[in-house]
Symmetry: C2
Subunit: 406 residues, 2 copies
């Protein structure tokens, strides 16, 4: 027990002065209780969105903002929140210091906008701990070997927190957010959704990929370094959810939760010639334009032609549609776009050696007259693309079928 | 001629997106014309004020914000403007890079809030020039030997610009602002105030101390390193004012200008015992609370008692008044405060060997029935504290008396 505890507070938790002052007290109390809090903060409220908007407004000819400059720009959001939190804690007569990602020793590769942490030199942090200080660290950012500031991309502050917890061998990484933990499914849709006391890394990873609160990257990192992650509500007295290794998990529970994602659209390329490399020719121009695609379905060739479908997020639909239609290297009949889909996924490590879950899932949806548009599975997950209007009924039905409220 | 030109743009010059884009074009054009622009920027518009406000709101028990944290906080304002300007210039297909104070090699002492530049390591800047890049530098900030960010205090960005011009041996340091140059006096008060083509460092220093647009510190630095400073309107086609050595100045002109400062109040301590160290006992608690005092007048002792008066800025009046009244180490009759004063000063290097200016000034004011409350003089300046209501008449009268419109 080295008593180091890493805490991360998200943007809504420090969205205004009063909330920030509450966090200051909470952190201060943790120190009083004998711990060494290392606190990672995101930018306040919507400030990152505001900076992104400005970076786009200042360019000529609608060019994309230079990524190196944009990274330094965005990094200021976390500098503001970390210094303000330090100022607030200091006024409670506590020893405290804020560190930028660079000062905290976080070095990354030089992929601006989505850098990966390559190393954490903890010497400065350990020095500050030795001086008995609470340490506030600007999340989401690091520095490359040239001394240029980089940002870690989506979910960056979660990643900062988990990486620090790993590097400092902290007992736990606490992620405070606007939900009270990880639920069996979205409580806004299923009224008796149950908060999980524990979930293992694998299940959480699938839940995260599929729209739960944390970024998959941070879960992956936690899993590799075996960092217990505790997710809880910032201003709640309720117990949160502990994300940890699977060994102690209840063996009988096979389905852990139902993940959902509403923001889904679909593109189908009809009657495209099935040659070696066709899939790559379709997808390369999309990834070149930073469009992530998700579920891919390709039917069996007929007369040497196939239909090729994939799902993608709603925001990317128009851009992807345009790129595909302007792709002269492809020989196809037409591109069809579809909106207002949702993904519903059954997740559970326990499913991997137990057959019949897919059947039971399809059956439950069929009984409610819900048609399935696409299906994809992994060892521990079954995902169906369905009509968005059917989502609430589907999730409630599945939650009941697999007795997740028990 | 190394073609390096340092330009500084103030906060109002880049107060919104459109203005910032105009600056981007202006800088880009300068590069096209064969120069290497090194551009120093202040924070946009009122953003520094906003950060200061937030730093005060997050403290408990109205404590002052920690200065080390506040410096990092405030430094983000210039990071935002410098990266946005770089993004804008980049979108014009120019090579460009923004550098923080630290990246630009600016090291300072560790007096947070009002640090002094100790050294500029220009290697990174010279490397970027070699790569043919326009360089945008975040003004107002540096880094101390511990790697902590410092800020230079009031007028900091002007100081950054002049220091860089000196370190890079630039031909000129151009300061762009919302006025078109240095005038014989405030054109809003004296309609025929004349813009000066040239002014020497000494005169400009006095004018600056007394409320003109530039900070005295930057002028002092320019004078020491002999950096010609050109002050002009950001979006104006008019010629500005060149601040330079006095050698080429017109010898016949003895009064250069009239400086004014409206933001003046006064405190008088009545009947205080005149012991060795009395003045220090009065002033030390004030400077400990960051209150700057200005003109000091102490009358001749009578029965071992004196009246001790000084002027100070309006904002500090109440705080200073309170501190003095609570100072138990002082033995005095009462503290009297006075508001709504103004300072009017005759400035000119030429005055130093020519007598009679003071008499002529007092005479001019007397003819207009203006009473003088306090007087202070230097070799090249005569300052009178007068009633604020009398200011316009005083300045106009002096401008005419000393034929500054000629």
């Amino acid at each position: 027990m080295n008593k180091i505890v890493v805490q991360k507070y998200g943007g809504t938790s420090i969205g205004d002065v009063e909330k920030l002052k509450s966090i200051a007290k909470k952190v201060s109390d943790k120190k009083e209780a004998g711990f060494f809090p290392i606190v990672v903060v995101s930018a306040m409220g919507k400030s990152t969105d505001e900076l992104v908007r400005m970076s786009e407004e200042v360019t000529f000819n609608k060019k994309s903002p230079d990524l190196r400059e944009k990274d330094t720009l965005l990094s200021t959001g976390e500098l503001v929140s970390s210094t303000l939190l330090a100022i607030s804690i200091k006024s409670l007569d506590k020893k405290v210091i804020s560190l930028s990602g660079s000062q905290a020793g976080i070095t990354t590769d030089d992929i601006h906008g989505s850098a990966r942490i390559s190393d954490i030199n903890t010497s400065r942090i350990l020095q500050e701990i030795k001086e008995d200080k609470i340490i506030i660290i600007a999340g989401f950012q690091g520095v490359n070997i040239d001394g240029d500031i980089t940002t870690l991309g989506r979910g960056g502050s979660d990643t900062t927190a988990v990486a620090l917890a790993a590097a400092l061998n902290a007992d736990v990484c606490e992620i405070y957010t606007d939900v009270e933990g990880i639920y069996t499914t979205d409580p806004r849709i299923v009224s008796n959704a149950k908060k999980l006391d524990k979930i293992n890394y694998e299940d959480m990873l699938e839940m995260a990929v599929l729209g739960a609160k944390m970024h998959p990257r941070s879960i992956e990192l936690a899993s590799i370094y075996d960092v217990p992650v505790y997710v809880a509500g910032t201003f709640s007295k309720e117990t949160g959810t502990l994300i940890t290794k699977g060994v102690n998990m209840e063996k009988t529970k096979t389905v852990t939760g139902i993940a959902i994602d509403k923001n889904v659209s679909k593109i189908t390329i009809k009657k495209i010639k099935n040659l070696p490399g066709t899939a790559a020719s379709i997808l390369k121009p999309l990834s070149d334009n930073s469009i992530s695609i998700d579920v891919i379905v390709q039917n069996t060739p007929s007369d040497g032609f196939i239909d090729f479908s994939f799902s993608l997020s709603q925001e990317d639909l128009e851009k992807a549609y345009e790129i595909l239609n302007n792709n002269n290297t492809l020989d196809f009949e037409e591109v069809v776009k579809g909106e207002d889909f949702a993904k519903v996924s059954l997740v559970g490590t326990g499913m991997q050696n137990a057959p019949g879950y897919a059947t039971e899932m399809f059956n439950a949806l069929g009984e409610k007259n819900i048609s399935i548009d696409m299906i994809t599975t992994s060892e521990i997950r079954i995902t169906c693309l369905i009509n968005q209007n059917d989502l609430d009924i589907a999730v409630n039905s599945l939650h009941e079928t697999f007795e997740l409220d028990k």
